[in-house]
Subunit: 321 residues, 2 copies
């Protein structure tokens, strides 16, 4: 065997993300390299140098004694970081243009849905009621984005182009052209106070768990042109206190919410989110990236790594993302 | 009276567009000029030099013998052009940034709703069903825009930024950066054949009446990644053959439609559009512009006209827009 094998550990996902589909994509781009779809009894775990994973079971990666790099097939690595037996090798997360573009689509769509009163207009259609309401201009609305990495900065750019005022908040200081940037705990309240539509794209870490909670919703713009501020969470379910969201929607602290992620996924059928009239719910598909793009990205990184180059988008294990 | 009076003829509209609201806005920006809200028995019609109108009744404008300019408070002048007694003075339509921005919001929102399978996702939510489907990338979808004036070009620009392929069709040749431009009857079919999501922003003229009909829907991309092509009409109701749209939605020639305008408005309660599962319906509010912006625009044009300058956005009565 000339090249170290790549093992695929893929669990869950849509038909587009089936393990067989991943294998055919990796076979196409990993010339001369064995691609193993686990479980597979016909190979020696010591031959595996790389693993490309999607929701691997805890402990599963510890089976490979000669592992050199782990590639996560999505952007969020919180589940992997929780695996205490995770081999101490570089962990790379996906950062491809396709993923960024899809997340921007989701953010722009859901910001516009709340801005343009879609829940009200659909309700009017169901009631066969012709009842246009006054519509505020985009320039009267501030979208506040939590997380100003590749995803947050790209969504901010399109929202700005549409005329929204855009504010951003991140852990460390950042500068994004045309966007009012805030950072750290000290500037969190100032960021929240001007925010009418809050978009959360943060990674899930011990520091950000349940950051979306009642005390923070209460700090959002209380004089919003929308009536009450809106929450959009396309980060991770663990970022949100779900009981707080429901109570805040019901007492008017929040005017609406778009949720793509949940504490438990798939969302249990008895969750009150399903039938809530002010919740726009999607099944964690904000940025389902094309396997073609991701497999090419991984194959390219492996080639560069074997040629002595540096890996890109390596997770900082201290930060957790 | 130093300055010629401005008469307001405003019928219909939302609370934001009430005649009183218009009068207060024009009073604020027309310094030293009488602003008359019709009907008003206390003035001499001969004193009226300017009229700012929204859905005036046929014949209503013929009452002013010294009229110099008519300002239409919206972008579409088809209803005015149908008034055979319309005084033969310059007719100016609104072209303000605010109107353009709002139309772009509408177009981007509705393109994204169909692209991101919103009707399917809302149905899944109502059924409490967690069932993500594969999602095509924006680069696999062509949005075809009919009408490449200020509105069409601006919407095209944002759609391009989101990664869509964008084609445009107009009566006369146009060039828009990054957009495949078609024009005239000869290139109409080539434009339609590549279009997955058709956006209609055409003015209503005798030539464009019922241009949105079955033979043209049948020419749209039959191999669309969306399954079947989608229609978005934010121009005028007179552009669409409504029986054809319904039949094409039911036999699969169209996969969905977003309609903001109708043959009869308000849309009659017995219209099948209201309850159609593949119709996303809005009450002609795609681009309800801020009266503040429009009144400033009209006042500014009058000042320049009285100082000997040219009027902008004057309707070509032969073209009809």
């Amino acid at each position: 065997m000339n090249k170290g094998a790549l093992a695929l550990l893929v669990h869950g996902g849509t038909e587009n993300w089936s393990p067989q589909r991943w294998k055919s994509r990796f076979d196409a781009v990993c010339e001369g390299r064995p691609v193993l779809l686990l479980p597979d009894a016909s190979f020696d775990p010591a031959e595996v140098h790389y693993a490309a994973v999607w929701k691997p079971h805890p402990g599963e990666l510890a089976a490979f004694p000669n592992l050199r790099v782990i590639f996560n097939l999505g952007a969020g690595v919180d589940a992997l970081m929780a695996d205490r037996s995770l081999p101490n090798v570089p962990l790379v997360r996906v950062a491809v243009t396709d993923l960024t573009a899809r997340m921007t689509e989701y953010v722009v769509l859901h910001v516009l849905m709340h801005h343009r009163q879609e829940p009200y207009l659909r309700e009017s259609q169901r009631a066969k009621r012709w009842a246009p309401k006054s519509q505020w201009a985009a320039g009267a609305v501030t979208v506040g984005i939590m997380g100003l990495g590749t995803l947050g900065a790209d969504a901010a750019d399109v929202l700005k182009r549409l005329g929204f005022r855009v504010a951003g908040w991140s852990r460390n200081p950042k500068t994004v052209d045309g966007i009012e940037c805030f950072h750290g705990e000290q500037q969190f309240e100032a960021f929240l106070q001007r925010t009418d539509i809050l978009v959360c794209l943060l990674p899930l870490t011990p520091e950000t768990r349940h950051i979306l909670n009642r005390p923070m919703f209460e700090k959002l713009n209380r004089k919003s042109p929308l009536g009450a501020p809106v929450l959009i969470n396309a980060g991770r379910g663990g970022l949100q206190n779900e009981a707080d969201i429901l109570q805040c929607l019901d007492d008017g602290t929040l005017g609406g919410a778009s949720l793509d992620v949940y504490a438990t996924e798939p969302l249990p059928v008895d969750s009150p989110f399903w039938a809530h009239p002010r919740v726009v719910l999607t099944p964690h598909n904000a940025a389902d990236t094309d396997p073609d793009e991701i497999s090419k990205y991984v194959a390219h990184q492996i080639e560069r790594f074997e040629a002595g180059g540096a890996l890109e988008n390596v997770v900082d294990r201290n930060r957790g993302y």
